[in-house]
Symmetry: C2
Subunit: 345 residues, 2 copies
DNA sequence: CATAGTTCCGTAAACGTTTACGGACGCCGA
DNA sequence: TCGGCGTCCGTAAACGTTTACGGAACTATG
């Protein structure tokens, strides 16, 4: 005899009463409830999740999907840990558990999702690293699984999303650099089809155009989102016949490798080239200090959670409006890396 | 009508046959199997995980437990991503899925485990960041849940473990530094009760003793496992009346902050002080290059997975011996940071 | 033709919960 | 005394699978 039956037998009451007692139902004598709880602790009883899920059709689990594998590895970093922190702060209030769904780089992300989540594994999903066209969005929306994306995508199923304000970053960076006299400005973008790359580059292009400048193709560097990618960008940049006088780095970690490549060539950020990047715990310790854009990842996590819950009937009352479809602003942290001013001839 | 019943109704066959067809049982006509699979795809049927788990008592999910929260955040890093990669390479062969169980720093880790895993959420667990005394080990062993730990612990339930060879690192580091004439050698250790701290410091002490040297208390620096911790260590070290001539850093990311603190004071690794650390994708880009210990995290992940599976009856035949209770060797990568030689007076 | 064996499929029980329903019992007011 | 009401509890169905069991149809063998 196992599970709730064992408990009921031990107490000589029915399993219905045991269940009600454990779940805090009102129609159970307080004395019996006390006995049940005591016995549960004594016998080390914990309700079986499968049985509960099967009956209730709910798992109390929210999945945060992320991809493993070496090339994306640099992105994992502390970024997600901080976001998780915020997400959990909200989930904790509703007995929801957050787990990270780790999709191997060898498997198709949509297949993975279909396999693990459409089976009723999670009550809701948070999607990150949205691609330009993202089959995962279609899948979840077809299956009516509540979800929210961190990052926009062209695949529109009416889902709520949050995203970093890459447009704002692009605009502010370009304006700032142009104001300092830069005319030849480089940008980086991710190596893959993650949507933010398109958004960022396009806005850079527009911002430059508004100043009467063009974004030259040879100044758009593709880079894996890790240190090695940044190093590669640095090498390529240095090998150009006509170097740019400034660059905007879209990923957090690439600044490290980029700095190194410059350093090896005796090129110093802030003196020989202006560099603007993204904040990360590492960037903080770069020298010369990196001018970068930062935001509160924890707050972003909170917003993600609230937005997701606002789409779920059970929780909607707590989060009537949510925070959906919002660009998350980034704040400029002034450093020394973009101190270089170009004097017009 | 939902689920497998709907499929059966649609095909006008019994649910038993549908189930057998989907699960690749031999006792089903190939033609019917074809029809079932086609219909499943057409209707978008995916088996419900709860129903399956309830019946089979198995979930096909392995949990990798990790803690979120800011102070440990630096440790997350790319370390785990690489380990996951190896774990998944093995799990992929057995239709097992890896998920990261994210325990909020606000919840007791053992409570968390009991809540999420004892409920039958996962078939097995990988525990990381084992504390000196770790209640999670007791819990899992009481509940007979297969698990393996990455890191040793004094809490012994006969569980299999793998660990990095911190003893080897300690010994080699000390030997190397002493051979270069260093007498006053500092070490770092984690701020919390994670077991590796004790192991590492003790072995350093022994190694020093074997050379007739003592490990002075003021030269043992506690540090959070992130950049900020490293910076703090650097500041403290610099403020000592009598500075050490060498230091061994136990965590991967602290070198970054440590370098920065030194740099601010005009102290250069390899010239003014010898530094030995751990490899990380960042460390690779430090200047002067960091002498550090590295290992294949992917291989470690593979071993973790194989060891876990070897303890699970269903998979035992594939992994008869496992790789349990092994210290994972680290290889020394020579850099410039420990080039300083002390000439004896 | 009888028998045995093989191939395939349907039936129904079981997994561990939750919960709608109804009943037993005691209490109160009419 | 009776009906009504409130409190508490037991019964049993339901959730969606898997699988042991048995049987029908067919084939092979003598």
């Amino acid at each position: 005899m196992k599970g709730i039956r064992r408990l009921a037998q031990h107490l000589d009451i029915s399993i219905g009463t045991v269940s009600r007692a454990l779940n805090g139902r009102p129609d159970v004598n307080e004395e019996t409830r006390r006995r049940v709880l005591a016995a549960a602790k004594e016998l080390g009883y914990v309700p079986n999740q499968s049985g509960r899920s099967l009956r209730q059709g709910t798992t109390n689990i929210i999945g945060f999907m992320m991809q493993t594998g070496t090339e994306i590895t640099g992105q994992g970093d502390t970024f997600f840990m901080s976001v998780f922190d915020g997400v959990q702060a909200v989930f904790g209030r509703h007995k929801l558990d957050l787990v990270a769904l780790l999709c191997s780089s060898e498997e198709d992300p949509a297949d993975y999702l279909s396999r693990v989540v459409a089976r009723g594994f999670a009550d809701g999903v948070i999607l990150s690293a949205t691609q330009r066209h993202d089959a995962r969005v279609e899948l979840l929306s077809e299956r009516n699984i509540p979800f929210v994306t961190l990052g926009r995508t062209l695949t529109d199923a009416g889902q709520p999303w949050l995203d970093l304000d890459f447009e704002g970053m692009a605009q502010a960076s370009i304006d700032r650099l142009v104001a300092r006299g830069h005319r030849r400005i480089a940008v980086t973008r991710p190596h893959d089809d993650v949507n933010l790359g398109y958004v960022f580059v396009e806005r850079c292009r527009e911002a430059l155009a508004s100043h009467g400048l063009a974004l030259e193709e040879e100044l758009i560097f593709r880079s894996t989102p890790n240190e090695a990618g940044g190093y590669q960008v640095g090498r390529e940049l240095l090998s150009l016949d006509e170097r740019p006088t400034a660059i905007v780095l879209i990923n957090e970690t690439i600044a490290i490798g980029f700095y190194r490549a410059l350093s090896e060539a005796g090129v110093k950020p802030g003196r020989d080239i202006a560099v603007i990047g993204r904040y990360s715990p590492h960037a903080q310790f770069l020298s010369p200090s990196l001018t970068c854009f930062r935001l509160s990842l924890r707050d972003l996590g909170v917003a993600l959670a609230e937005t997701l819950l606002s789409t779920m009937p059970v929780f909607r009352e707590h989060y009537p409006h949510g925070t959906a479809n919002k660009l998350w602003p980034m704040e400029l942290v002034e450093g020394a890396s973009d101190a270089l001013h170009i004097h017009q001839p």
